[in-house]
Symmetry: C2
Subunit: 192 residues, 2 copies
């Protein structure tokens, strides 16, 4: 902890929601001035997102209806970690299940926290290349379109408000800086 | 709705959590194939984020401990809409309360959805310039440091994983593309 004058410390913790999908907790914490407050937040196992690029530079994207925002969103493929699953294994599984693509080369770019005020969720950002197309295996009740777009189209949609999903906007930031050479990726070829 | 083959429709809705801070609902929905599923999500009033730039180009940033991720995060100033409050009024209020700065010129850049799978939250992205420094008025129990950084430092921290907050990463994407001239802002000078 580099900034102890900002830190909050747990005094107690309880479940306040165990839903089918959402799990929320409420903690009582001590604040930097010694007073107390409650913090309510969603417990999340973490997730991955995949920026998968075809040989011609086009990106693998999805269109999916997102009920909480009542709209069809354009997104990079993404999904939650299964218990005990590594981040790379999850990225390989989600890309294949949702889009049908497998990738020979992978690079972990970084990480994002979508909502630091009320969720523990993190999303690992993976780049994938040398793709081959097989058959996708959507979960029951999962409906999404897979399509491709050029990096220029993607960035245009971000600037025009057609893409508003924070993880996808963050993927666009990574893509733009990797393409310009400002940020470097460390590519690996995982064993099959 | 451009993609009716992806849409989900509400059949019923109930509160599943009314906490001090979090409000969650569970809806039963019909899926595109006619089957049913439940959707659980956080109800959020919406928020704003401010990319405020000083005359020398430096950006106004905050360091704040974020309990759900158990770390001090670097962020652009941001905050929730009060009931009936306009997005611009919220941005002006939050910038002043958290940092002490007022801005003469404002531009709404766009919007992001931090977590489309389980929250209704949106964040309006505002740019602010021609700043003057007054006195900040933090809420009770709010502890945060205000500091400044150059755009180059900000982008370096994004690429090196020192910034992982999705709204701030999205602000960096906007800043980079506004600076390069790829994306334009429509500046306004609100009446005082």
């Amino acid at each position: 902890m580099d900034y102890p004058h900002l830190a909050e410390h747990k005094l107690s913790s309880e479940d306040i929601l165990k839903g089918n999908f959402l799990h929320a907790r409420r903690d009582v914490v001590s604040l930097p001035d010694g007073s107390q407050a409650t913090r309510e937040y969603i417990i999340h196992p973490g997730a991955v997102m995949i920026v998968a690029q075809l040989g011609d530079g086009r990106l693998v994207l999805e269109r999916q209806y997102r009920y909480p925002v009542q709209d069809v969103m354009i997104e990079f493929p993404a999904g939650k970690l299964d218990p005990g699953e590594s981040s790379l294994a999850c990225a390989q599984r989600e890309l294949l299940e949702e889009t049908g693509y497998s990738a020979r080369q992978w690079a972990r770019a970084g990480m994002l926290h979508p909502v630091i005020s009320y969720s523990t969720e993190f999303i690992d950002i993976w780049f994938a290349r040398e793709l081959s197309l097989g058959e996708r295996k959507l979960d029951a009740g999962e409906f999404l379109d897979v399509f491709t777009a050029s990096p220029a189209e993607l960035l245009d949609w971000c600037g025009k408000g057609r893409i508003t999903d924070a993880k996808t906007l963050t993927g666009a930031l990574w893509l733009q800086n990797v393409q310009s050479g400002a940020w470097a990726l460390d590519w690996q070829t995982p064993a099959l």
